[in-house]
């Protein structure tokens, strides 16, 4: 096999070999080189016209040297042998011993079956084809409800590739497509304004935008905006919370996912650091972090260290089973990497990160779960969340939800933050529905200043009690 995509930039096996040799010139244990070429294209519709286009190219390379759990890192935008060797020598200074040999031979990994095969790759889609999609969304949004006053639509696509080579002699290339479509509306009623929207994302080509999906984008954006006129804040304080199937997977992302990233556990700073093998939830709670789902935004063929991304079981039968590992933490714990070593770009060293995080279906039905709640909150739409890894406290922000009274959804609620503590909340997950949905939205996870695309999913789930950041006692 020969180098594929990156040969167009003059990247050769010899260049890689010399770089890795320079990287180990002061005795690191391990080194890798990460080449990235990312082409982003954005079209935006505002005030009735697609009147702005954005394009970006990121081309660069990062060199990492690892010595134990120490990391040296350098990067450059110049893909010349001189610049690469200079970056490697910078990274090499993390170690201070005699040099170690670079790889004896390099092997380009054979192409694999992609988890994101493209029918219409973005390189082949002309702007003239994309424009009508945005214009159509806008017209349908205005036609759907007379209260709509402003519509913004945005289409982003990414193409390009990464190449990872390491001091074991592995060379892995992967194409990494992505697309995201968002529709945002401002509505007015009786002098009041409300704004909301909906978005969909995938590692897919232009074929992703089927009529059915576009219909849903319009319907959801309108419904989620106009319902806000009837919505108010829920009461403040602790109450039962039911999470709707789908994007409620944000609960897992914040309550347990980050805490299971092995770097925090290696340092002892996660609240889950000493909980492997222990029961943390009811036996019907099973939680996955999965890089294998076809076309999912959080899916990856290989991680940014060249390791195959698998499906990792975080919680099995309520028992904590494994952390999410990158190369450094896997070496530290003496286990195989789980394919969770990810990075935002060549400007960053990889870290253990989530991919698509979800809970497997459980024994209860949605109706049964809703009927069980005397007075509580039903959460449907979310905007963001955050966690304090060590204390375990986390939050997520509910954009759309409903009050549950006597087992029925009564009035809509909006703009409320929910607060919990990870391990405590997982213990309080007392019903899990049979209706798992992986959300199709464009979720992005931030950690240490690096953003990576992720997915999340959940069946309908009941948490016996969480703190709801509403207003008044409502009693």
């Amino acid at each position: 096999m020969a180098i594929g995509y990156f040969s167009r930039f003059g990247v050769t096996e010899r260049m890689i070999s010399e770089t890795l040799t320079a990287a180990l010139s002061r005795g690191g244990d391990f080194a890798d080189v990460f080449f990235q070429h990312k082409i982003g294209a954005d079209l935006s519709l505002e005030d009735g016209a697609v009147n702005r286009a954005y394009a970006s190219v990121e081309l660069g390379v990062g060199v990492r040297v690892v010595k134990g759990d120490q990391t040296g890192y350098g990067y450059t935008e110049e893909l010349t042998p001189e610049a690469l060797v200079a970056a490697a020598r910078t990274a090499a200074t993390i170690a201070d011993g005699p040099s170690r040999p670079g790889p004896v031979a390099l092997h380009v990994a054979p192409a694999r079956a992609s988890r994101y095969p493209l029918v219409r790759p973005w390189e082949e889609v002309r702007p003239e084809e994309k424009l009508p999609l945005l214009v159509d969304l806008e017209q349908r949004a205005f036609a759907a409800d007379p209260r709509i006053r402003k519509v913004n639509a945005h289409l982003r696509d990414e193409s390009g590739a990464v190449l990872i080579a390491d001091s074991r002699g592995r060379i892995v290339e992967d194409r990494q497509p992505m697309t995201l479509l968002s529709l945002s509306c401002v509505a007015e009623q009786d002098g009041r304004r409300e704004q909301n929207g909906y978005n969909v994302a995938a590692r897919a080509g232009f074929e992703f935008y089927t009529q059915e999906r576009l219909d849903r984008v319009v319907t959801e954006a309108i419904a989620r905006t106009t319902v806000l006129f009837e919505a108010g804040p829920p009461p403040a304080g602790e109450m039962p919370v039911v999470l709707a199937a789908g994007s409620s997977g944000i609960l897992l992302h914040e309550a347990i996912g980050h805490g299971m990233e092995a770097d925090f556990n290696r340092k002892g700073t996660s609240i889950y650091a000493d909980k492997i093998g222990k029961r943390i939830a009811a036996p019907f709670v099973n939680i996955m972090d999965d890089g294998t789902q076809p076309a999912a935004r959080g899916s990856i063929n290989v991680d940014d260290e060249g390791n195959t991304a698998g499906a990792t079981r975080l919680v099995e039968g309520g028992v904590l089973t494994t952390f999410l590992h990158d190369e450094i933490s896997a070496r530290h714990y003496g286990v195989s990497p789980t394919g969770n070593g990810r990075r935002e770009s060549y400007r960053h060293a990889p870290l253990p990160r989530m991919r698509s995080t979800y809970m497997l279906p459980g024994p209860h039905s949605r109706d049964e779960i809703l009927r069980s709640v005397k007075r509580g909150l039903y959460c449907v739409g979310f905007s963001n969340g955050q966690v304090a890894i060590g204390a375990g406290d986390f939050t997520f922000y509910v954009k759309n939800g409903w009050l549950i009274e006597d087992g029925r959804l009564t009035r809509p609620v909006k703009d409320v933050n929910l607060v919990g503590n990870g391990p405590k909340v997982l213990e309080k997950v007392d019903m899990v529905g049979d209706d798992l949905e992986i959300d199709e939205g464009g979720w992005t996870c931030g950690k240490d200043g690096q953003s990576v695309p992720v997915s999340q999913g959940l069946p309908t789930v009941r948490v016996a009690s969480m703190t709801v950041g509403g207003r008044g006692s409502g009693r």
Binding site: L43, R193, S383, G390, F394, T395, Y397, T467, G469
Partner: protein
């Protein structure tokens, strides 16, 4: 070096015109970034690089495209610009898109803002490692009982140069440095939780940085004070927001002041110019001329000559943040599209004095997630901090929430500290609000 960057920007501008753009604005930048993280007795991570990129805003036959690239190989750049011009031609025209009116460039102040440390090159790898190590040492020294699980000291500095060239003749260059040190400590609570806290300091000049040991000590002291955190009750109460945390509150108020939010009907401050938004204590100017300030500048990203202007005066809204594009759409005169530094009229009392006066209150020392709806002003934010009892700091509290609406909240601003936070361009002082909704138990 800077001549080269300016030349690169000029060349790109010329190239864009040659490829068919009617006008364009080019920004070029180059930055050296160095970061060192020291944890538990050794360097954990060291990163060093010089990085660069080029961005162009293209005006083509009444149409607009904005593009950026880090692939500056001459052939690739020429092809990239050609493609960008072709891309612009495919979309709809926009009569509001053009370079800024040249009179906005006029009157650039001739001040030395002291943003560039001439001694940057004297900071060595050993200096940085020494700082990072000293931060950990400071943290450990503040923990005689050995409750720290992990202590980290970090340093990061950048030396950035940038050049802006417009095809109507505007040119500007900028050199700046900044240095940051931060400490992070995680401690073991007897109940198994591992609360962590941080402290940080920054400066444009490395000689003016706070002592790293002090940053470590502060991080450890803050983390240790979290041991035994409980959830407090849900109530309407007086809330004091520590100066460092108050930037989050202020940013939710200032974001909706942008002309884009106004024009897109996504601002709860739309149509409120001249109206009273807060108590008389809400008094803030935008001041681009703070010496060594993190937001200081002589011109903004569009080339508009910077000058100070009032945002709130005694609670009344005086100005919006207006860029040229949305300014044209709204028929409003541009100020600037992006904040520089905020200058609050400070109070006369310290945080301790303010808490003593408040007697029963919640002191917020950090936010966790949450959000603010810029269209309606509703907000709901996760918080941690301390219960204040009898005017003194009592038990640490967490897993709590603060909610309300900004149009009510800022009218309840009852006191402002004398302590503007120096390590952010927002420079918020401690803010005390009365009668705010807190959720917990």
């Amino acid at each position: 070096m800077s001549e080269t960057l300016l030349d690169a920007a000029r060349r790109a501008a010329t190239l864009a015109l040659a490829k068919g753009a009617g006008a364009c604005a080019v920004g070029a930048w180059r930055a050296r970034n160095v970061e060192v993280t020291w944890r538990d007795g050794k360097v954990e991570k060291a990163t060093e690089a010089t990085t660069r990129a080029l961005g162009l805003e293209l005006y083509v036959d009444g149409r607009y495209a904005a593009v950026s690239t880090s692939d500056l190989r001459p052939d690739a750049l020429a092809r990239f610009i050609e493609d960008a011009v072709a891309l612009a031609r495919t979309i709809s025209p926009d009569p509001f898109r053009r370079l800024p009116e040249p009179e906005l460039y006029a009157g650039r102040a001739g001040l030395d803002l002291e943003l560039d440390d001439p001694d940057y090159g004297r900071v060595t790898a050993e200096t940085r490692r020494g700082w990072a190590q000293a931060i950990e040492a400071g943290a450990r020294a503040a923990d005689p009982q050995g409750r720290i699980i992990s202590a980290t000291g970090s340093t990061g500095d950048t030396q950035v140069e940038s050049a802006i060239v417009h095809t109507d003749g505007f040119e500007g260059t900028r050199h700046a440095t900044d240095f940051w040190i931060s400490g992070e400590a995680a401690v073991l609570d007897p109940d198994g939780r591992r609360p962590e806290e941080y402290a940080a300091a920054g400066s444009r000049f490395w000689g003016a940085l706070e002592r790293p040991e002090e940053i470590g000590r502060r991080a450890a002291t803050r983390a240790l004070s979290r041991i035994g955190t409980v959830k407090g009750e849900s109530a309407l109460m007086t809330v004091a927001v520590e100066a460092r945390a108050a930037g989050r509150m202020a940013s939710m108020l200032f974001g909706p002041l942008s002309a884009s939010a106004l024009q897109q009907k996504r601002s709860f401050l739309d149509g409120k110019l001249g109206e009273t938004i807060g108590s008389p204590l809400l008094d803030v100017r935008d001041d681009p001329f703070v010496k060594r300030g993190f937001g200081s500048r002589l011109f903004d990203g569009e080339g508009i000559a910077a000058k100070p202007f009032p945002i709130f005066e005694q609670g009344a809204l005086r100005s919006y943040y207006v860029d040229t594009y949305y300014g044209r759409k709204l028929g409003m005169r541009p100020t600037t599209g992006r904040m520089s530094n905020h200058a609050w009229v400070p109070g006369t009392r310290s945080l301790d004095d303010l808490l003593a006066d408040a007697k029963e209150a919640l002191l917020i020392t950090g936010f966790l997630g949450g959000n603010s709806n810029g269209t309606t002003g509703d907000f709901s934010l996760g918080v941690k901090g301390f219960r204040v009892r009898g005017g003194a700091i009592a038990e640490p509290v967490g897993e709590m929430n603060l909610s309300g609406n900004h149009l009510e909240l800022w009218k309840r601003l009852a006191a402002v500290g004398n302590d503007p936070y120096p390590y952010s361009a927002m420079r918020t002082p401690t803010l005390v609000f009365e009668g705010v909704q807190v959720a917990g138990l």
